[in-house]
C-alpha cells in the first residue's frame, strides 16, 4: 500500500514539476538545510549551565513543529489526497497510514530529518546510552510532526468553509506565525541576559518539555541520567500520541458528514449608471469586493496580514515596550502583498471571461482598487490609532510617509506578480469544500514579502536625509514622496501587468487549464487543453506553417544558477538590512551597539558611508535576484 502510494506520488511529481517549480523546491530545500544545519550546530555550543542546551534545543524543535503546522496551510494541497481513493474499498486507518507513508517521502521531511539529527549529536554529549535512545526518539518525533501537520490541515479545512471559520483560521494562522517568529525576539534577551549561565526559569523548562515535540529531548536527557522509567515513558508517548493523531486524521478522511455552509448573494443588483463604479474597472472592483467578502479563502487571506500586524505590534507590550505600535498599519500594508500575489491563479480558468470581453486592463485596475479597499482603510486606521496610543509624536512623519508608499507599491506588486508569476491551482469550484487547497504560491509569496518592503525606500531616504541634515521640513517631505511613490508604483506596475495580460492572456489561460505552461512545438508531451489528441502525428510531416509556440520553453534551472540567485537573495538581505539600514539608523539615533554591524566599528561619518554603500549594493543584488527569480518563474510556468 505505502509502496504503491509512494510510487504514485513520485509519478505525479515527475509529471507536474516545471522548471520554475523545481527552482523553488531547490531554493526552499537549501534554505531549509541551512536552518537544519544551524539546529545541529546549536548542540555543539559551549554552554556552562547543563540544562540550558536542552531547553534551547526543545525550543528550536518546537519551532520546527510549528513550521510543519503552518506550512501546509499557506502552501498547496498534498499531492495525494484522500478523495482520489474514495471509491476504493480501503479502511480509513489503512488509507491514512498509506498517505502518511507517502507524505514522509518529501524534501521537507528530509530537511527536518537532518535537523533532527541534532538530538543524536546532543545525546552524544550525554553518553552512549542517550545516543542510542536518540535514534528512535528523533524518528518518532519526525513522524509525529508530519502527523500533526496533517491533522492541523484537516481541522482547518473543515473550519475554513464558513466565513466565520475562515476568519478564525486567519487569526489562528497569524497567531502561529507570530509565535514562530517571536523566537527571534527571544534570542535577543537570551543573548543579553545571563540565561546561558544560569539557565531558564524552572517553569519555562517544565512547560517547554511537556510539549510533544520536546519528548525526544526528555527521553534523551533521562537516558543520560539513567532515569529509565522517564525514558521509557517519553519514548512510549510518541507512538501512542502518533496513533491517536492517526485515528483523528483517518476520521477526517471520509465523506464529510455535514454539508458545507452555503454563502448567498443579494437578490438584486443593477449596474450603476454613473459615478466611479459605472465603467468596466468599476464593475471589476465590485466583483472583486464581493469575492473578498464571499469567498472564505479570501477572508482568510484578508485576516492574516491584519492579525499578524496587530499581533506583532502588540506583543512587545507584554514586556512594556510600545515601540512597535506605530508600525502596525505599515505592517498590514507590507504583509498584505503576500496574500494577494496570485489573484489570477486563485480564480482559475475564469480568465477566459476577461479575455473574451477584452477587459484585461479594466480587470487589473479593478483588482488593484479592490486590494486598496480591503487593506487601505485598515492600514490607515491602525496607523493613526496605534501611533496616538503609543504617544510617540516623533513617529508621525515616518508613519504617514511609509504607509501610502507600501499600500500603493503593494497594489502594483500584487497585480504584476499575479500576471507574471502565475501559479496554477484548482478551479474555485473544485475547492469549494476546502478553501485552503489553493495553488502553492509559497515561493513567489516569500519573494513578494521581501520585495514588498522596498517601496518604503524613497520616503525613508528623504526622512533620513532630513534627520542627517537636521532639516525639519525634509522630515515632512516624506509624506508627498511616499504618496508619489505609492501612486507611481501602483500605476506603473499595474500598467505593465495589464500589458502583459493582453499579450500573454491565452498562454496564461492554457497554464490554468492544464496546470503547465504551453510546451514548445518541437519537444515535450502533448496535451490539448481539454482533451488528449488521439493520435500523435509527427510534427516533421506537418506543413512549414507549424510555427513554434510563442511561449518559451520550461526552463530547468541549473544548479549553478540556483546558487547564484540564492547568493543574490542572501547577500542582498545581509547588505541591505544588517549591514546597511540597521547601522545607518543606529548611527543616526546615536546607539552604541557594535555587534556584527561592520559600519559601527568605523567613525560615524565613515560608518554612514559604509552603511549607505551596503544599502546600494544590497538593492543591486536584490534587483538581480528579483529579475532572475521572476524570469524563471515566468519561463517555468
Amino acid at each position: 500500500m505505502v509502496g504503491v502510494l509512494i510510487r504514485m506520488k513520485l509519478a505525479v511529481l515527475r509529471n507536474s514539476t516545471t522548471g520554475g517549480r523545481a527552482a523553488w523546491m531547490v531554493t526552499g530545500g537549501v534554505l531549509g538545510l541551512c536552518c537544519a544545519a544551524a539546529t545541529v550546530l546549536l548542540t555543539f555550543a559551549d554552554v556552562s549551565h547543563p540544562g540550558v542546551l536542552g531547553d534551547l534545543l526543545a525550543a528550536v524543535w518546537l519551532g520546527w513543529a510549528l513550521s510543519w503546522m503552518i506550512g501546509p496551510l499557506w502552501g498547496a494541497s498534498a499531492v495525494l489526497r484522500a478523495e482520489h481513493f474514495a471509491l476504493l474499498p480501503l479502511p480509513r486507518p489503512r488509507l491514512a497510514a498509506g498517505l502518511l507513508g507517502a507524505g514522509l517521502v518529501a524534501i521537507t521531511t528530509a530537511v527536518t530529518a537532518v535537523a533532527f539529527l541534532s538530538l543524536i549529536t546532543y545525546a552524544a554529549r550525554l553518553g552512549p546510552a542517550a545516543a542510542l535512545v536518540a535514534v528512535p526518539a528523533a524518528a518518532g518525533v519526525l513522524v509525529l510532526v508530519v502527523l500533526l501537520s496533517r491533522v492541523t490541515h484537516a481541522l482547518f479545512t473543515v473550519v475554513a468553509t464558513s466565513r466565520t471559520g475562515a476568519a478564525v483560521t486567519g487569526l489562528l494562522f497569524a497567531g502561529l506565525l507570530i509565535v514562530s517568529q517571536s523566537g527571534w525576539m527571544l534570542i535577543v534577551p537570551i543573548l543579553y541576559s545571563d540565561v546561558l549561565t544560569t539557565g531558564f526559569s524552572p517553569l519555562f523548562s517544565t512547560v517547554l518539555r511537556a510539549v510533544p515535540s520536546s519528548w525526544g529531548v526528555v527521553a534523551v536527557e533521562a537516558a543520560g541520567r539513567g532515569d529509565w522509567p522517564v525514558t521509557a515513558a517519553a519514548l512510549a508517548g510518541l507512538p501512542v500520541l502518533g496513533a491517536l493523531l492517526l485515528l483523528v486524521w483517518a476520521a477526517t478522511l471520509g465523506t464529510p458528514r455535514r454539508s458545507r455552509v452555503t454563502i448567498r448573494g443579494g437578490a438584486y443588483g443593477t449596474a450603476p449608471a454613473r459615478g466611479p463604479l459605472a465603467g468596466p474597472a468599476g464593475a471589476v472592483f465590485r466583483k472583486e469586493v464581493r469575492t473578498w467578502w464571499r469567498d472564505p479563502g479570501r477572508i482568510t487571506a484578508a485576516v492574516v496580514p491584519i492579525a499578524w500586524a496587530l499581533g506583532t505590534a502588540l506583543l512587545p507590550l507584554t514586556f512594556g515596550a510600545p515601540v512597535l505600535l506605530p508600525w502596525a498599519g505599515a505592517a498590514v500594508a507590507w504583509f498584505a502583498v503576500t496574500s494577494a500575489g496570485n489573484l489570477y491563479g486563485d480564480d482559475g480558468t475564469a480568465l477566459w471571461h476577461t479575455l473574451t470581453t477584452g477587459s484585461e486592463r479594466a480587470d487589473v485596475r479593478g483588482r488593484q482598487w479592490a486590494y486598496l479597499a480591503v487593506y487601505g482603510p485598515v492600514a490607515v486606521l491602525l496607523s493613526a490609532g496605534l501611533t496616538v496610543w503609543s504617544g510617540y509624536t516623533w513617529a508621525w512623519p515616518w508613519v504617514v510617509a511609509v504607509v501610502p508608499a507600501l499600500l500603493g507599491g503593494g497594489a502594483g506588486l500584487i497585480a504584476y506578480a499575479s500576471v507574471s508569476a502565475l501559479t496554477p491551482g484548482p478551479d474555485p469550484r473544485r475547492r469549494a469544500d476546502a478553501p485552503l487547497e489553493g495553488a502553492d504560491a509559497t515561493g513567489p509569496s516569500y519573494v513578494l514579502f521581501w520585495v514588498g518592503i522596498l517601496p518604503a525606500g524613497p520616503p525613508l531616504a528623504v526622512i533620513v536625509t532630513g534627520h542627517l541634515l537636521d532639516v525639519p521640513w525634509l522630515l515632512w517631505a516624506g509624506l508627498p514622496v511616499g504618496v508619489a511613490t505609492g501612486v507611481a508604483l501602483a500605476w506603473w506596475l499595474g500598467d505593465r501587468a495589464a500589458a502583459r495580460l493582453q499579450e500573454r492572456g491565452p498562454e496564461m489561460l492554457h497554464t490554468m487549464r492544464t496546470g503547465r505552461p504551453p510546451p514548445p512545438s518541437s519537444v515535450g508531451v502533448a496535451r490539448s487543453p481539454l482533451g488528449v489528441a488521439r493520435s500523435p502525428l509527427d510534427v516533421a510531416s506537418s506543413p512549414a506553417g507549424v510555427a513554434p509556440s510563442p511561449s518559451p520553453a520550461a526552463v530547468v534551472a541549473s544548479g549553478r544558477e540556483v546558487v547564484r540567485v540564492l547568493g543574490c537573495w542572501i547577500g542582498g538581505g545581509l547588505l541591505t538590512f544588517p549591514q546597511g539600514l540597521v547601522p545607518v539608523i543606529l548611527i543616526l539615533v546615536g546607539a552604541d551597539v557594535r555587534s556584527w554591524f561592520l559600519a559601527m566599528y568605523l567613525p560615524p561619518p565613515w560608518g554612514l558611508v559604509l552603511g549607505v554603500a551596503g544599502v546600494v549594493a544590497g538593492v543591486a543584488l536584490f534587483t538581480t535576484a528579483i529579475r532572475a527569480t521572476f524570469r524563471r518563474a515566468v519561463d517555468g510556468r
Binding site: 469575492t291 475564469a350 477584452g358 506543413p543
Partner: protein, 253 residues
C-alpha cells in the same frame, strides 16, 4: 462584410509538443447557418474552437469572424462573438444576475438596456428561482445556462459553443435549443461542437467531421450524411474499431 462567412478558419494549426492537435484545418461557416462540429474525443474540436474564440493562440493559420481577423483585431472580433467554453470557471462568487450585470458592464452595455436584458435572460433560462445562489453552487446544467446567457448578452453575430448540451437535463435542453433556433432564425450563426450525433442532426444544417486534428468531411448535412444517418457516416469516416472488442472476458464470470 455582408458577404463574409460568419467564421472562416484557414490553414489552422496547433501543436502541443510533438502532438499536432489541429492540423491544417480549413473550415467555412456560412452566415446564418447552424453549424455542427463533430468528432471523437481528442479530435481537436475544442482546440479549434478555442483558437476561433481568441482563447488559444494558433501555431499557424487565420481565424476570421465576419471578415475580422480574431488575432489581428481582437477587440472588434470579440464584439461579434459570444463564447460558451466547456468546463471553464466563471467569476464564481457572484449570483447569476450579478454575473450578467458584470459582464454587461465589461462590454459597456448602457445600464438601462442591461437591466432589461439581464432580467429577460434570467427568465428565459429559468434561473430566476436561484436569485441568491452564487455561481460556485450552481449545478452543471445551471452553469451551462448562465454561460449561454453571458454569451448572448451583448447580441453577438456568432455563437461559439463547446458541448453546450452536456449535462443539461432534457427540459432545459429543449429550452436552450429553442433559444438557439430563434437566434439563427433572426440572422445569427451558431457553431457548436458535440459528439451526440442525433442532436447535431436535429439542430444543424451544416456539419463538419473532425478526426485526429483534420477535417475529414464538411458541408450541408444532407451532403455529409448521404442516404445514411449521420452516425453511420461518422463511423465510416472516422474508421470504427470492432464495435465489440475482444477481451474483458472476466467481467461476466
Amino acid at each position: 462584410m455582408g458577404s463574409d462567412p460568419a467564421l472562416r478558419l484557414t490553414g489552422l494549426v496547433k501543436a502541443f509538443g510533438s502532438t499536432v492537435a489541429v492540423d491544417r484545418v480549413d473550415l467555412t461557416v456560412p452566415a446564418g447557418s447552424f453549424f455542427g462540429l463533430v468528432g471523437p474525443n481528442g479530435a481537436g474540436k475544442t482546440t479549434a474552437l478555442s483558437m476561433a474564440a481568441g482563447l488559444l493562440r494558433p501555431g499557424a493559420g487565420r481565424c476570421e469572424v465576419s471578415g475580422v481577423d480574431v488575432w489581428a483585431d481582437p477587440v472588434r472580433a470579440k464584439t461579434l462573438i459570444g463564447v460558451l467554453p466547456d468546463g471553464l470557471a466563471l467569476p464564481e462568487r457572484l449570483t447569476g444576475r450579478e454575473l450578467l450585470t458584470f459582464t454587461g458592464q465589461l462590454r459597456r452595455i448602457p445600464p438601462d438596456v442591461l437591466t432589461e436584458r439581464v432580467q429577460e435572460l434570467l427568465t428565459v433560462m429559468g434561473l430566476t428561482g436561484a436569485e441568491t445562489t452564487l455561481v460556485v453552487d450552481y449545478s452543471t446544467g445551471m452553469r451551462k445556462k448562465i454561460g449561454l446567457a453571458t454569451a448572448l448578452l451583448h447580441g453577438p453575430r456568432l455563437l461559439i459553443l463547446d458541448e453546450p448540451f452536456e449535462a443539461v437535463d432534457p427540459v432545459s435542453a429543449a429550452a436552450l435549443k429553442a433559444i438557439l433556433v430563434r437566434f439563427v432564425a433572426s440572422g445569427g450563426s451558431v457553431v457548436l461542437s458535440s459528439h451526440v450525433m442525433a442532436l447535431v442532426e436535429q439542430l444543424c444544417d451544416t456539419v463538419a467531421i473532425m478526426d485526429r486534428g483534420r477535417v475529414v468531411a464538411a458541408g450541408p448535412l444532407a451532403d455529409v450524411r448521404g442516404d445514411e444517418t449521420l452516425e453511420r457516416a461518422f463511423v465510416e469516416l472516422v474508421g470504427a474499431a470492432d464495435p465489440v472488442p475482444d477481451g474483458l472476458s472476466w467481467l461476466a464470470s
